[in-house]
């Protein structure tokens, strides 16, 4: 029965392949079709989530019926179940928004790429095989390159070009890392790799070089400091719904993959130094992103920088090497996904209605589009980390975990970055509510979803315990490698 969960991969694939046929039948059906498929995907993901969290056992999918390490297996544990659900919900929301926001032709190609971006991120999070991870990462990355340039403006082409070159270099490094690790162990299965690492069967030098190469490769997707130069341009130039997907789950998939591989090999000698490297990169990401956001004139770009800053915070939490840090990081991942989905959708909506996303376009938005402005304000206040909003809890936990792990300086620097964040977000609030005049613009049904998301933000902020319980289980899925190894029954033929 549990094998039916492989529909999470099969459904978006077969639907994407069907689009060229559908286009010949009737072109106006494409967007409703997209919404229907993402809704179906949400249904399956919801079922998987329910299964995993009620039985407490992960769902293992054996592609082709081969046991690992001979075949490829998908591992849908608490973490994957949670984030696959988030991916599906966010995709559903953005597909609804796409109807209003994407008017550029060819929309049939847009629909295919949209579905495959969702598929790629789902696969990255679900897979239990290190080379399969590479394949899904390529699916995600190449779709992202194409979608970044989709608007066909000069700046979109430039952003996509930067992203493509950096991403190409990154994935080559990743592949070299995989080759090194395969060369020394003879296996690609994550559980078996973890077993070898625990038994001390991987030579330290190889493990260190391989691991750093893999981390380096994934850092491009995960937008960590020296490798994230593509991100602000791509976020700004991509179609509005695609920006939402980038921020809500494409980055998260990269971060998760990084954390997963890192913690699988935690018994390897020299692991600490890789962790330190990641810690430095993460702290620098937060500081540079927040300082750059301060100077932005374009709101979409400003929020893009803010998103990178938050991602740095998650990476910081993952690089602590403690259970508390990982839990806090996953919590922040969840909160950030909700908040940034709402922010980018709201900004995109304003961009479509007003005709631009520069800061002048937001003058007097509180009078022109009060409901959109209200939800944007909730998002802004929450991101800064004000109590009674969801991000406060996760930020607080990350900083506590950082200090507990003995890193005082990173904690101080990150707190400083939060102050910087407050400055530019409150400037935006000021512009929206206390400056400018304007006619009332009629807001459509889209606002209902924005307000719903705002409500969730406040809801988690006031009553975080149930979400925290879910997140803790997802966090231990990454941290507790022993459990992971035991959960994947390996074929006994090799040794």
């Amino acid at each position: 029965m549990s094998q039916v969960a492989s529909l999470l991969i099969a459904l978006p694939l077969i639907s994407a392949f069907f689009v060229p046929v559908l286009k010949q039948i009737k072109k106006s059906l494409i967007f409703p079709y997209l919404t229907l498929i993402t809704l179906l995907q949400t249904g399956i993901a919801g079922w998987v989530f329910y299964e995993v969290y009620t039985t407490g056992k992960p769902i293992l999918i054996y592609a082709g019926g081969w046991r690992p390490p001979v075949g490829i297996n998908l591992y849908i544990g608490p973490f994957a179940a949670l984030f696959i659900l988030i991916i599906a919900i966010v995709s559903f929301l953005t597909s609804l928004f796409s109807m209003r926001m994407v008017k550029v032709e060819p929309i049939d190609k847009y629909a295919m790429l949209f579905l495959l971006l969702m598929l790629g991120a789902t696969g990255m999070i679900a897979t239990g095989d290190i080379f399969n991870l590479f394949v899904f990462m390529e699916i995600t990355a190449i779709t992202a390159y194409a979608l970044t340039a989709y608007n066909k403006t000069g700046e979109a082409a430039e952003a996509s070009m930067k992203y493509m070159i950096l991403g190409g270099i990154g994935s080559s490094f990743f592949l070299i890392g995989v080759a090194l690790i395969y060369g020394v162990t003879g296996t690609l299965n994550m559980a078996q790799l973890a077993e070898f690492a625990s038994a001390g069967k991987i030579m330290p030098v190889v493990a260190q070089v391989g691991l750093s190469l893999i981390i380096f490769g994934l850092a491009v997707e995960a937008e960590l400091f020296p490798l994230n130069a593509w991100a602000p341009d791509a976020y700004q130039a991509a179609p509005h719904p695609i920006t939402v997907m980038f921020s809500a789950f494409v980055v998260k998939a990269g971060l998760y993959a990084m954390a997963r591989i890192l913690y699988l090999l935690q018994k390897v000698n020299g692991w600490d130094s890789v962790l330190k490297l990641l810690l430095i990169m993460a702290t620098l990401t937060v500081i540079f992103a927040e300082l750059s956001a301060l100077r932005q004139k374009d709101v979409k770009r400003m929020i893009a920088y803010s998103s990178i800053g938050q991602v740095g915070l998650i990476a910081l939490a993952f690089s602590l090497g403690t259970q508390a840090g990982v839990d806090a990081g996953v919590f922040h991942m969840l909160n950030h996904a909700i908040v940034k989905t709402m922010m980018f959708l709201g900004v995109g909506y304003v961009g479509v209605m007003v005709g631009g996303t520069r800061i002048e376009d937001f003058r007097g938005l509180g009078k022109r589009m009060p409901l959109t402005a209200l939800s944007l304000s909730v998002g802004a206040i929450s991101t800064v980390g004000v109590p009674l909003f969801n991000v406060f809890w996760s930020k607080f936990r990350i900083i506590v975990a950082t200090i507990q792990a003995g890193f005082v300086w990173p904690a101080v620097l990150v707190l400083f970055a939060s102050v910087v964040e407050a400055v530019y977000y409150f400037r935006l609030l000021h512009v929206m509510w206390f400056a400018g005049e304007g006619e009332r613009i009629k807001e459509g049904w889209i606002v209902v979803f924005l307000l719903l998301l705002a409500l969730i933000i406040v809801g988690i902020g006031i009553y975080p315990t149930p979400v925290w319980e879910i997140v803790k289980r997802a966090g231990s899925d990454i941290f507790a490698v022993k459990v992971y190894i035991n959960n994947v029954p390996l074929l006994g033929v090799v040794q």
Partner: protein
């Protein structure tokens, strides 16, 4: 002044590359060379014939044992062609080639075309027996179309048909996988070999190899139409009315 800076840049990058190269070589030096490190590999070689019916171990691994990766790779190619088409999309696009090819070129291409097609099909149909498979076969077929494009200034593939074929081939691949889910209980399960035992007495001949030839035929069609589509898109220019 500028020259000094560019020299310095070059020098720095050479030093950096040397450092990275040394570092990776350090890692590589610790991977034992020539020793038997085959863990999973041995399993494949020992069981490939009875478990998959393929004589070509590589295709058995690629399509059967690790078929999930191949499905992903097919998708990557699909994305590439869709992406190119999306980025080069204009309302009206036509070929604007100007010089006619010589008679020898056009006649030669016409004669060569069916042979290339035939050979391409041969490659992907015999994937489980000989080296090759869906990807090289499909690429060979696309080469045939490229030849036609380069030899004739007005040649154009019927893209509507090509697009639909490409989509249908991809859907059939996933469908074969889903039939496996229905019959054998696993996605991408080789139901032709494992459940039907079709061709078990025929090992090493054309009608064997479980679903490998079926999938490779689909991949061959898909890759062929996809690469031709990319060529078609890249060779056309916008026409202003």
């Amino acid at each position: 002044m500028g020259e000094v800076v560019s020299m310095l840049k070059r020098l720095l990058s050479i030093i950096l590359i040397l450092i990275i190269g040394y570092w990776i070589a350090q890692g590589l030096a610790n991977v034992p060379f020539g020793e038997d490190r085959m863990l999973v590999g041995k399993y494949y070689l020992q069981h490939v014939k009875e478990q998959t019916g393929a004589v070509n171990a590589v295709t058995a691994v690629v399509v059967n044992y690790r078929g999930f990766d191949t499905l992903g790779e097919v998708t990557v190619l699909f994305i590439a062609s869709t992406g190119v088409a999306a980025l080069l999309w204009r309302k009206r696009r036509e070929r604007t080639a100007k010089t006619e090819g010589s008679l020898v070129l056009t006649t030669g291409s016409k004669l060569l075309f069916p042979f290339i097609m035939l050979f391409g099909m041969y490659i992907f149909i015999h994937g489980h027996l000989t080296p090759g498979g869906g990807f090289p076969g499909g690429a060979t077929i696309a080469t045939g179309f490229l030849l036609m494009y380069l030899a004739f200034i007005v040649y154009e593939i019927p893209h509507r048909g090509f697009e639909v074929t490409e989509g249908l081939a991809g859907m059939s691949y996933v469908l074969v996988g889903l039939i496996g889910l229905a019959i054998g209980g696993y996605f991408l399960f080789d139901w032709i070999w494992q459940t039907w035992h079709f061709g078990t007495s025929n090992l090493g001949r054309l009608f064997s190899g479980g679903f490998i030839p079926v999938i490779y035929t689909l991949i061959g069609i898909k890759v062929g139409t996809e690469l031709s589509g990319i060529i078609d898109n890249m060779l056309k220019e916008e026409v202003k009315e």
